[in-house]
């Protein structure tokens, strides 16, 4: 019989047994018949044969072992027994499975996010040879810049030729495109300009048609071709191969201060292969356009929007590459120092020229999303791992308690000759069953939770795509976690079970109970320690978020909705300006609207900064945030006016208004105690030097809630921008009325998005909210698990000590003393755990420090919150067992047994 058939026999063991029975039955019957034929009465014959045959059961067992793989057979039987035992203790099992699957799921979810965003290399040829260039910015909020202008890119590419093949990929943008079908509806596509050799250098191949080539780079503006991503092709065109050759219109967009979008008609020439979704994990590109079709940028050293990526040649070293690139970078900066450094001090000019150039690995693709969330994800992963340890300890304790309850069963099995190996196997099988179920549930949980987290990272303007596939890496991760959990937390109960001394255990059911509760105690101490770490770190993050969320931004955000308004087709500047005024007028007359204004940027954005210098002051040039707004902006946002006036209708109607409003920080920085209103300064916008006059000073507002207010220059807005509408009513009726009014004011315009201002603020606090929410959740889970563990060990030890307590009470001990002895036990365990946890938490706090806002690990609250909640949970967990101990009736306790 082959190994395979024995394996099959294990599965159909009952059939094998039936066959064996049949065979033996026949033998017995035949022998009886033979005896009867010799003249013996049948019943005597039967008796004789059965006696002679011996134990049929044992016979069957012996033959059975030949027919089945004995180890596998015993395993299957253990699994059956295990399932029966687990079902019998449904509550205990359920608790173990729920806590483990939650923890395993959290770990898995964290892993799949980390894998997708941080670990997984780009799906291109030899990603480990890819590099990308960055340089330091000396701005702590954004320490490294990786945008380069076209002339600088060309200079670097030529310098490094032969050592590394550099190519340029622009930062993704989201212009609107119209494909001519579906009623000419506009859709926003994530678009990148790439130099023609990009696909070739990456090793990406087309799924349909062709990809971009260096021939598409030849003449600026002369190559209206496009490549779409496979995902977009499937999503939008259902994979129709007729897409190749199709024309579409790309909107012409004119952002304030940079009229750089070429727009116009483009023809699709191909679809990229499915796995390639752009070089930036987190942001999937829909559309690639030739670099030559970004005319505003070609040859323009002032417009930096390209990432420079490269493939290092086999024989080139990174040091060589760095040194040639550094030389080219420095000489380029030296040539352009005049243009960039106007009005800068000699020291800052020197720093500008001497800026180092970093060569970074681009194996995983450059990703701002990763920069923003990498640390947070690792912290969450660490917290999830701690919760897994807590849950695992809980499971170990549950099993330990059960082992104790099954001591008689175990002793019986040992005394009739079961090997200790079999007992260990039995216990390990049970914990593996729990781990296996938890593993499957955890995968399901992670499958829901991880995309939910990605959903939280995304906003309407900035969809985030992460490839959270279930691949062998993920399954291997969960599998090994489950195995590890089983081994670590199943082994203690298993060894415990195997070490029963049959004689003592069978003689007295309760001998050695004290030591057994002692075995559980270290697990509880560990749980307390881990849960304190989670509570402490979670508490810091929650406190930090609470502080940040309660920061006064300097304006009133509630009751303001933002309307994004865009022209349907190209309109000239005059019409833009007229539309602005008309839309403002119409919106103001809508009933329920309290105030209306428009601003180029949302208050919390800070996309445009300019260096300004005020003549007649000794100050260096300072960087000011530029904020084009309409009259009524300060009223709409409820920003107090401190001095002078704000804009009037005349300031935006007049072509050459010179009025500007500054914020308090700007005024203080330049003028100190002197009055700012009435002062003149030179502004240099779009290469026209203009004399501006400060007409008013308003209170500070924050552009970033984490930072102090920045010096801000408000200038009159002349194009449409984002409309800010203050209203007490945010009903759908009013919103659709607003949309209609915009369209009625000028049919060429329509509302593309309606967002409450508060949602924009939420978006800026995304990382903190995410961390606070998830770590807070895990802190609560950990706390509950630790409390359950403590409760379990306490109530178990009270049950075990019932007799002892009874004796003490009978001998005149006070109830209080009994309770104290139980609680002291718990208290010591908790204190040991808490001390360890606090030390661990304070050590780990250094890793979250960078993410904290105005919260210190050694603050009163930071320490009081976790310790306090742990003590409360501990007290709650101790109440019931303590009461039970106090209510022990000596008579009952002593008569028992």
């Amino acid at each position: 019989m082959s190994w395979l058939s024995r394996l099959i026999n294990v599965v159909r063991a009952s059939k094998v047994e039936r066959d064996l029975d049949d065979e033996l039955r026949f033998h017995i019957d035949a022998r009886i018949d033979a005896l009867v034929q010799t003249g013996l009465p049948r019943h005597v014959a039967e008796e004789q044969v059965v006696r002679q045959f011996g134990s049929r059961l044992r016979l069957r067992e012996a033959s059975r072992d030949v027919k089945l793989l004995p180890w596998l057979d015993s395993l299957v039987r253990d699994i059956r027994l295990g399932l029966r035992m687990l079902r019998k203790h449904a509550v205990v099992t359920g608790a173990a499975i729920v806590s483990l699957s939650l923890a395993l799921g959290a770990c898995t979810g964290a892993f799949s996010l980390i894998d997708a965003l941080i670990l997984r290399p780009l799906p291109v040829r030899a990603p480990e040879r890819l590099i990308h260039l960055t340089f330091p910015t000396y701005d702590p909020a954004w320490p490294e810049n990786d945008t380069f202008s076209d002339p600088l890119f060309v200079r670097l590419r030529e310098a490094a030729r032969g050592r590394v093949d550099l190519f340029a990929v622009s930062y993704p943008e989201r212009p609107s495109a119209t494909f001519g079908d579906q009623g000419g509806e506009k859709e926003k596509l994530r678009t990148q300009f790439v130099s023609g050799d990009t696909f070739n250098r990456l090793g990406v191949v087309p799924a349909v048609g062709r990809l971009l080539t260096p021939q598409d780079d030849v003449r600026p503006g002369a190559h209206p071709v496009a490549v779409v991503s496979h995902a977009f092709w499937m999503r939008r065109f259902g994979g129709d191969p007729a897409i190749v050759g199709r024309w579409f219109a790309l909107e012409e967009r004119r952002a304030f201060g940079s009229g750089l979008w070429a727009g116009g008609q483009f023809q699709i020439v191909g679809v990229a292969e499915p796995r390639f979704m752009g070089v930036e994990p987190g942001r999937a590109t829909d559309l690639w356009l030739p670099y030559a079709m970004a005319p505003g940028r070609l040859g323009n050293p002032e417009h930096s929007s390209f990432r420079v990526i490269g493939r290092v040649k086999e024989d080139a070293s990174l040091e060589q590459v760095q040194s040639v690139l550094q030389a080219a970078f420095t000489s380029f900066r030296r040539e352009h120092v005049e243009r960039f450094g106007r009005g800068q001090s000699p020291e800052s000019l020197e720093r500008f020229v001497g800026t180092p150039l970093y060569v970074r690995s681009a194996a995983n693709g450059p990703s701002p999303l990763r920069q923003q969330f990498e640390r947070s994800l690792w912290i969450l992963a660490a917290i999830a791992a701690l919760v897994l340890l807590i849950a695992g300890s809980n499971v170990a304790n549950l099993f330990l308690a059960r082992t104790a309850a099954r001591e008689r069963e175990m002793s019986l099995r040992v005394s009739i000759g079961a090997g200790r190996g079999r007992l260990i196997q039995q216990m390990l099988v049970e914990s593996a069953l729990v781990a296996g179920v938890a593993c499957a549930l955890g995968l399901l949980f992670a499958g829901v939770a991880a995309p939910a987290v990605v959903g939280m990272l995304a906003s309407a303007d900035d969809p985030v795509y992460l490839d959270l596939r279930v691949d062998w890496r993920l399954v291997a991760f969960v599998g090994s976690l489950a195995l590890l959990t089983t081994a670590v937390f199943g082994l203690a109960p298993a060894l415990r079970a195997a070490s029963v001394a049959p004689m003592t255990a069978l003689k007295t059911g309760s001998a050695g109970a004290g030591t057994r509760a002692g075995v559980m105690r270290p697990f509880v101490a560990f749980q307390v320690a881990f849960s304190l770490v989670v509570l402490f770190v979670g508490g810091l993050l929650v406190l930090s978020f609470a502080r940040l969320a309660s920061v006064n931004p300097g304006f009133s955000s509630s009751g303001v909705v933002l309307l994004s308004v865009e022209p349907l087709h190209r309109v000239d500047e005059k019409r833009l300006h007229r539309a602005l005024l008309q839309i403002l007028d119409r919106l103001r007359d809508v009933p329920g609207v309290q105030a209306v204004s428009s601003a180029e940027f949302n208050v919390l954005g800070r996309p445009w900064r300019h260096y300004v210098r005020v003549p007649g002051t000794e100050h260096e040039t300072i960087e000011a945030t530029m904020a084009p707004v309409t009259p009524g902006f300060f009223e709409t946002m409820r920003i107090p006016v401190l001095d002078g006036r704000t804009f009037t209708r005349r300031d935006i109607e007049a072509k050459n208004s010179t009025a500007v409003v500054v914020n308090q920080t700007f005024a203080r920085r330049y003028f100190g105690r002197e009055r700012a209103v009435g002062r003149l300064f030179e502004g240099r916008f779009d290469d026209n030097v203009v004399q501006n006059e400060i007409v008013g000073v308003v209170a500070d507002t924050k552009h970033d809630l984490r930072e102090p207010a920045a010096p801000t220059l408000y200038i009159p807005l002349r194009a449409t921008g984002t409309f800010h509408v203050r209203t007490a009513d945010d009903s759908a009726t009013l919103m659709s009325r607003l949309r209609e009014e915009v369209h009625a004011a000028d049919p060429a315009f329509r509302v593309t998005a309606v967002t409450p201002q508060s949602a924009v603020i939420d978006q800026t606090l995304l990382r903190e909210r995410l961390l606070a929410l998830l770590s807070g959740f895990f802190a609560v889970v950990g706390l509950v698990l630790a409390a359950v563990g403590l409760y379990g060990v306490l109530s178990y030890s009270v049950v075990q000590r019932t007799k002892e307590i009874g004796i003490r009470l009978a001998l005149g001990a006070q109830q209080l003393a009994v309770v104290r002895s139980v609680v002291t036990d718990a208290g010591i365990t908790m204190l040991v755990g808490a001390a360890g946890g606090l030390a661990g938490g304070l050590y780990l706090a250094r890793f979250v420090r960078a993410l904290l806002y105005e919260v210190q690990p050694f603050d009163l609250w930071s320490l009081a919150l976790p310790v306090g909640s742990l003590l409360c949970a501990g007290a709650l967990a101790a109440v019931l067992p303590a009461r039970r101990a106090a209510r022990v009736d000596p008579v009952v306790a002593l008569r028992y047994e």
Partner: protein, 110 residues
């Protein structure tokens, strides 16, 4: 599990193979009957040894089994020798003769 030793321990497979080879397919009971009658009731086959031995031999590939129906319409399991069993029998038989011959020699001349 305790191993039970009986007088036929080593010789049982040999006898079974020989009988099956000579008499053709037989069921377990038939094998015991043959051994007993042919040895003039000197050798008694313990059922406790026979079936595990049969199943071990089946496992080793020396014999193969199939289900058949007896003259009394009972389901019976019939065993027969395989090619491997034949080779095994030759080897075992040679060894057996050598050993018993040696033992007899010692008994006679000691």
């Amino acid at each position: 599990m305790m191993k039970r030793h009986d007088s036929l321990q080593g010789a049982l497979p040999l006898l079974v193979l020989k009988i099956l080879l000579r008499r053709g397919p037989l069921h377990g009971y038939g094998i015991t009957l043959h051994i007993e009658t042919m040895s003039d009731e000197v050798l008694r086959v313990e059922e406790g040894s026979l079936y595990p031995a049969l199943h071990r031999m089946e496992e080793a590939g020396w014999i193969k089994a199939r289900w058949a129906v007896s003259e009394h319409k009972r389901r019976v399991r019939m065993y027969e020798v395989t090619a491997a069993g034949r080779r095994q029998l030759e080897a075992e038989e040679g060894r057996w003769h050598a050993v018993t011959g040696a033992v007899a020699h010692v008994l006679k001349h000691a």
